[in-house]
Symmetry: C2
Subunit: 138 residues, 2 copies
DNA sequence: CTATATGCAAAGTCTTTGCAATGGC
DNA sequence: GCCATTGCAAAGACTTTGCATATAG
């Protein structure tokens, strides 16, 4: 079942067929789809779903803090439903594959007060770039 | 003078008026311009410079490792000439302002071998998100 | 019943491409 | 003079918007 769906229902999110399908597509670990990929998968189950609705829904889920927006070096953003456990990303520079990882240290601790320049920091995003095992052998 | 320009000349980079202007615009610290901003500033000195040339030039400079591409949560990428000294970014979630910072630890050291999943890591990108002092008082 | 969500199609933003003309070296 | 680089305009990729219609609660 869908944890994401449960939580959204619990938050009183108005449930429609489209939103349900989008939430289902996004459910799981190591999911990092673009808006267009979400639309394609959602359309397998609900052919008439429009791109606009997918974009709306993704934007809402990001606003609710239920999914994360991941900016890659490629053009399209990716959406990561694993918003509740802090983690970082391993990104393949060749094929763009993304993997969640859980480093040991706290990256925030590495930024001394003197280097914060008056910013109130709420979040740290860490991206490790390299070549994935699949691309390395290809 | 322009350090960037010096290095490029030394590398045998074919010098044109357009490339010189782009390199000059990008020279300096804490510079994080979008392609369009680079084009606008370059056009102040060289009115006929085209966007295509700016995009070409930026792409080359990234390829040469002379500038860095910074993907923000906004749409347009930003270009950072400070490629020779490892650093991270502080980004204001409200206004998008970017600042270079130099944390104490080595972020790579925080990723144990068991968490690398066969990737050969070449680079780490760290982005601290928060509210800048200017937005905090506004 | 009513406010919110949807679909459509058009517009907007950012980036790339094809190709003839230009100009460094 | 040769070949890389440029400018232009058009196409392409990704995302947002406006508004009439549909539907969850």
């Amino acid at each position: 079942m869908s944890d994401l769906l449960e939580r959204l229902r619990g938050r009183g999110w108005r449930m429609t067929a489209q939103r349900r399908v989008v939430a289902e597509v996004l459910d799981g670990d190591h999911v990092h789809l673009t808006a267009d990929e979400v639309h394609a998968r959602a359309a397998e189950r609900l052919p008439e779903i429009s791109r606009a609705t997918v974009y709306n829904t993704l934007g809402e889920l990001v606003g609710l803090g239920e999914i994360l927006e991941v900016s890659t070096d490629r053009r399209a953003k990716r959406y990561d439903p694993n918003a509740h456990r802090p983690h970082q990303h391993l990104v393949c520079s060749r094929c763009g594959a993304i993997r969640d990882v859980h480093p040991s240290g706290d990256p925030l601790a590495d930024l001394p007060a003197a280097e914060r320049f008056g910013f109130t920091i709420s979040d740290v995003e860490v991206t490790y770039r390299g070549i994935c095992p699949h691309c390395a052998t290809a």
